[in-house]
Amino acid sequence: MKIVNHKKGQFIVLATLTVAIMIVSIGMIMYGTITYFKHKRWQEYLMIIDNAELGSQRVVEISLANYTSTFNDTQILTDNLNQWQMNLTKAYQGFGVALTYSDATIGNGTKSVMSQIDNTMYFSGTNATIEIDITSVGLTGYKFVASAFLGVILNATYDNSNLVISIAVEKEDSTPVTDLNKNNFFINNESLANINSTLTHSYEMDNDDVLRIVYRIVILNDPGLSNVLVAVVDNRGIKVIANSTVT
């Protein structure tokens, strides 16, 4: 066979080789990018953050429910958050989940509101600023506020021999609490379920432009007390106590 010594066409060979080198180089860069994201389990980290955020919310609710059972233990919030810090790290071992908190407050009291029912709101509330770091992925400073709140505005009047109690109930962000029944109300330390009464509710746009659900309790043939003490325990176990002079 005769071997022909071509003196032309070398450029095409060089160009092909250059293109080949470029493709392989791009492939290597892409490999680096793909494996970087592969090793970072983003989906899993998002799940952890979701779980930590909702869990922290639950911890402050549990703490407030515990505090309002006696209204004595103001340390319960910090105790539970300290435990939560350790338990969360233990639950997600190997991820380097670190939770810190600040501005943790818990308490109960009254505040002024613009309402058709009454101008005083009785409340139980707590909040804490939570910060989550996931050191294994370099995520730091994911911050949010976890809060729990239960507030009531109370008014009591007599209608003939019946005691009529109007009570507006709201939780965080002025959200109406809609899922209450007779078992959630206590009148002068006695469950409403054990009292001869009726319970109805209605929605009202109040003077401060907040939509409130107003529960109307009618206690039939009431003995005629001058003062009424109403406790409301929501389905999270958070209690708020309000009192009012019967007019």
């Binding site: 005769k2 022909v4 071509h6 066409g9 095409i12 060979v13 092909t16 293109v19 080949a20 493709i23 392989v24 791009i26 492939g27 892409m30 490999y31 793909i34 494996t35 592969k38 989906q43 899993e44 799940m47 979701d50 779980n51 909702l54 869990g55 639950r58 911890v59 549990i62 703490s63 429910a65 515990n66 059972s69 539970n80 435990q83 939560w84 338990n87 969360l88 233990k90 639950a91 997600y92 389905n235 999270r236 176990g237």
Partner: protein, 162 residues
């Protein structure tokens, strides 16, 4: 320019022309090489791509579904109630309703010392499926407590697509 040889085919007795080309072979080699490079590059990238058909996507997808279901139940306040009331049957039903019917699940509830809390099985699907399946997704979820009691529970949810 082509060199042409004329030969005679003895079997058929018919003369046949065979053309011997001495130029242009390099182009063919270049094209073949280029094809190989392109095929290699595509194969190389495809090996690491997470497409909807790849097993890695399947596990990631199941994990996402499992976590979303647990998160939704927790957000509605149902997860804590079922766990702390030890209402395992209702929890199984809630998971069956929330998950797509083609997904089998097996949930185990532990305390912080990794002691199993659920005395009844919280499962949909045969145990054999979980033992034999090559793609099992696992989701870890922590529930801090219920009502006024701080008493965390760790949930391990395993998922398999039928």
């Amino acid at each position: 320019m082509y060199c042409t040889n004329y030969q005679t085919d003895d079997m058929e007795g018919i003369p046949m022309n065979k053309t011997k080309k001495t130029k242009g072979q390099m182009r063919l080699v270049e094209a073949v090489l280029a094809s190989f490079v392109i095929i290699f590059a595509i194969t190389f990238i495809n090996a690491f791509a997470v497409t909807p058909l790849s097993p890695r996507y399947e596990i990631s997808d199941l994990e996402k579904i499992g976590n979303n279901v647990l998160h939704d139940l927790d957000e509605k306040g149902l997860l804590g109630r079922f766990i702390y009331d030890e209402n395992w049957e209702t929890l199984t039903l809630a998971l069956m309703v929330s998950l797509p019917p083609e997904i089998y699940f097996d949930l185990t509830v532990y305390d912080l010392d990794w002691n199993r809390v659920n005395n009844a099985t919280i499962r949909y699907g045969d145990l054999e499926v979980f033992e034999t399946s090559s793609y099992i997704a696992s989701v870890t979820y922590i529930v801090p407590g219920y009502q006024a009691d701080y008493n965390p529970r760790l949930l391990i949810l395993q998922l398999v697509r039928r």
